[in-house]
């Protein structure tokens, strides 16, 4: 149970970073932390006490089995977060070229 709580705390730290930080690099780091906590949570779901191996071995009593599906899913999810992070960082670099600052409160030409 403890480990799921730690997952939640990690998620909250990430959310704090996205919502409260003014530096856009720190916002991107916050987004990364949120994504890590999600992936961690999904991998943890693969561990079941008294679990049995998937599909084909209904009758056998296999011990120490971990559900492999969340791992496959999380790999895909990590690749997606990589794509998002790469895109956001490249946007941040171009923003710095135009505005000369990473401060989100000074980057506000759009309004209304």
């Amino acid at each position: 149970m403890m480990i799921y709580l730690l997952c939640l705390i990690l998620f909250c730290i990430g959310l704090y970073g996205v919502l409260r930080k003014r530096n856009i690099v720190k916002i991107i780091v916050g987004l990364g932390i949120i994504e890590y906590s999600m992936n961690l949570f999904f991998v943890l779901l693969g561990y079941r006490t008294h679990g049995r191996s998937p599909i084909e071995a209904r009758t056998e009593n296999v011990l120490n089995m971990v559900d492999p599906l969340p791992q496959a899913v999380v790999l895909t999810s990590i690749v997606i977060s990589l794509a998002v992070t790469a895109l956001v960082i490249s946007i941040a670099i171009r923003i710095y070229e135009y505005y000369g600052t990473f401060d989100i409160t000074k980057i506000k030409r759009l309004k209304g």
Binding site: L15, V18, I24, I27, I28, L31, I34, E35, M38, F41, F42, L45, I55, D67, L69, P70, V73, T76, S77, I80, S81, A83, V84, L87, V88, I91, A92, R94, I95, Y98, Y99, I107, K108, R109, L110, G112
Partner: protein, 503 residues
């Protein structure tokens, strides 16, 4: 034709053309790039109408494709039912006209092949999200479409566009995280990712906590993708900043596929809709409807005004679906179709003005009717459609939503829908007054009408606007009615998929 399964083609064609164009785009002429991008769109539209025809004779009114031959729930399946095919027709038809328009409009941008690569990736994401029957695949396609749209918003790489894209990317990614968390909880509870199998497990389980918690996560996540009001902050920045053809794509189909379609599919067919969910949908729809249109009234930037109207019109769609009666859902889906047509058309008009006059500010344009008669004419049709003036298509769908409100006894929501419609009319009269009527400005004397391909797309969409009302005829009505039945009989979805594949 029966030997080839049509379902996976909706993902294969755009995905292949996306990377094919990016590879060969450097070595061929511009016209070849145009041809390479328009042909896949024509194919996709053809196949979506073909799927509509095949669906009539398909067993259980469902086209199924089992990836690798593995039967669900063990393998991944793709399933197209009447609701899916309705969305496929809307998305691919609008995408075809926008693609034709882009070949003219994008001339002033430098890197054509990259633009079409991103365009087709976005289309892959949307088509994939519609055809998939697997919850994690849905998430992957949602992210493909989202990442492509973040990049497309920043395509012009000016300061404002980058700022909007950054805001959109951060908010969109956080929303995706909420959706992913919801999927994780559902997987932990049901031990399956197949949507049909998940619906079966959820229907037999008796947990009090899992459904409300997951519903909250999904409403947050998909609500942000659909730009419902508490989650709408990114839309008025992101949609105007993109190139006009992409604004049309984002406002016309992206927010509907990623937001409304995914929301309706998951809530009606997987989680099982309850009265509380419907009440939340109605409430979110109604406040989006009012706040969107009120904020739109004070805008002077043409594209920003249209973006606020997207929020308001999405409110109508969600309100219609939230009423929950067959008539209400019919109105919601019909309005979804109509809105994707006339909002795309309005954005294409704004692009044509931007292309010819070089401004988006309503104060700097006047009397364009003389110089750009086709843009003015099609814009008049689209404005009257969105404001709900008979006999255009927007009138019928709004009327149905209002009737459904009265029929179900929600008189407050009915009043809100009428007031929203009147305010929409007011704000589009402002557009007509400032942009097209009045004296021609000195600076606009040398304005020319947009090129032929752009005119062609605008006229085609305007014709659909005028003829849209005919979908209510009894012979054409099953197109939407069957989609409504899929949502009303939510539990049948899993029964059909599991029943068909067990054979």
């Amino acid at each position: 034709m029966n030997s080839i399964n049509v379902v996976p083609l909706f993902v294969i064609i755009p995905l292949f053309s996306a990377f094919f164009i990016s590879i060969v785009g450097k070595f061929v002429k511009r016209n070849a790039v145009y041809a390479l991008s328009v042909i896949p769109c024509i194919l996709l539209s053809f196949f979506s109408f073909n799927a509509l025809r095949l669906l009539q004779s398909a067993p259980g009114h469902m086209l199924l494709y089992k990836i690798g031959g593995w039967a669900p729930p063990f393998g991944i399946c793709m399933a197209v039912d009447a609701f899916g095919v309705f969305m496929l027709v809307v998305v691919n038809l609008v995408a075809l006209f926008i693609c034709i328009y882009s070949t003219g409009y994008m001339e002033k941008y430098t890197d054509m092949p990259k633009f079409f690569t991103l365009f087709f990736l976005m289309l892959t994401g949307m088509n994939g999200l519609i055809v998939t029957g697997d919850l994690f695949n849905l998430f992957v396609f949602l992210e493909i479409a989202s990442v492509a749209s973040y990049a497309l918003v920043a395509f012009g790489t000016e300061a404002e566009e980058l700022e909007a894209a950054f805001k959109y990317a951060i908010m969109g990614s956080v929303a995706s995280c909420f959706i992913f968390l919801g999927i994780a909880f559902l997987y932990g509870f049901t031990s399956t990712l197949n949507m049909a199998d998940m619906a079966r497990v959820l229907a037999t389980s008796h947990s009090v906590f899992i459904i409300p918690f997951v519903s909250a996560l999904f409403i947050m996540g998909f609500g942000l993708k659909a730009a419902l009001v508490p989650f709408h902050a990114w839309l008025p920045d992101a949609h105007p900043s993109a190139p006009a053809s992409i604004s049309a794509m984002l406002s016309g189909v992206l927010i509907k596929t990623l937001g409304v379609y995914a929301l309706a599919r998951i809530f009606f067919n997987v989680l099982g809709i309850t009265a509380t969910h419907l009440a939340v949908f109605r409430f979110l729809g109604a406040i989006s409807l009012v706040i969107g249109v009120v904020l739109a009234l004070s805008q002077w930037d043409l594209k920003r005004l249209l973006a606020y109207h997207s929020i308001s019109q999405i409110g109508y769609v969600v309100l219609g679906i939230g009423i929950g009666t067959p008539l209400g859902i019919f109105g919601g889906l019909f309005h979804l179709l109509n809105h994707s047509v006339f909002k795309s058309l309005l954005f294409l008009n704004s692009g044509a003005i931007d292309y010819s006059v070089g401004t988006r500010d309503l104060k700097h344009m006047s009397g364009l009717k003389e110089k750009m008669p086709i843009t003015a004419g099609t814009n008049m049709i689209a404005s009257m459609s969105i404001a709900g003036i008979p006999p255009f298509n927007g009138f019928f769908s709004k009327l149905i939503i209002i009737f459904a409100c009265v029929q179900a006894g929600y008189f407050g929501y009915c009043l809100i829908a009428i007031v929203g419609s009147i305010l929409t009319l007011a704000s589009f009269m402002k557009v007509q007054r400032y942009a097209f009527l009045g004296e021609l400005r000195q600076a606009c004397q040398n304005v020319k009408e947009a090129p032929f391909v752009m005119k062609f797309s605008m006229i085609a969409l305007a014709v659909i606007c005028v003829l849209g009302g005919f979908l209510l005829l009894p012979s054409l009505r099953p197109f939407i009615n069957n989609a409504v039945d899929v949502l009303i009989e939510g539990a049948k979805y899993s029964a059909i998929i599991l029943g068909e594949t067990a054979k």
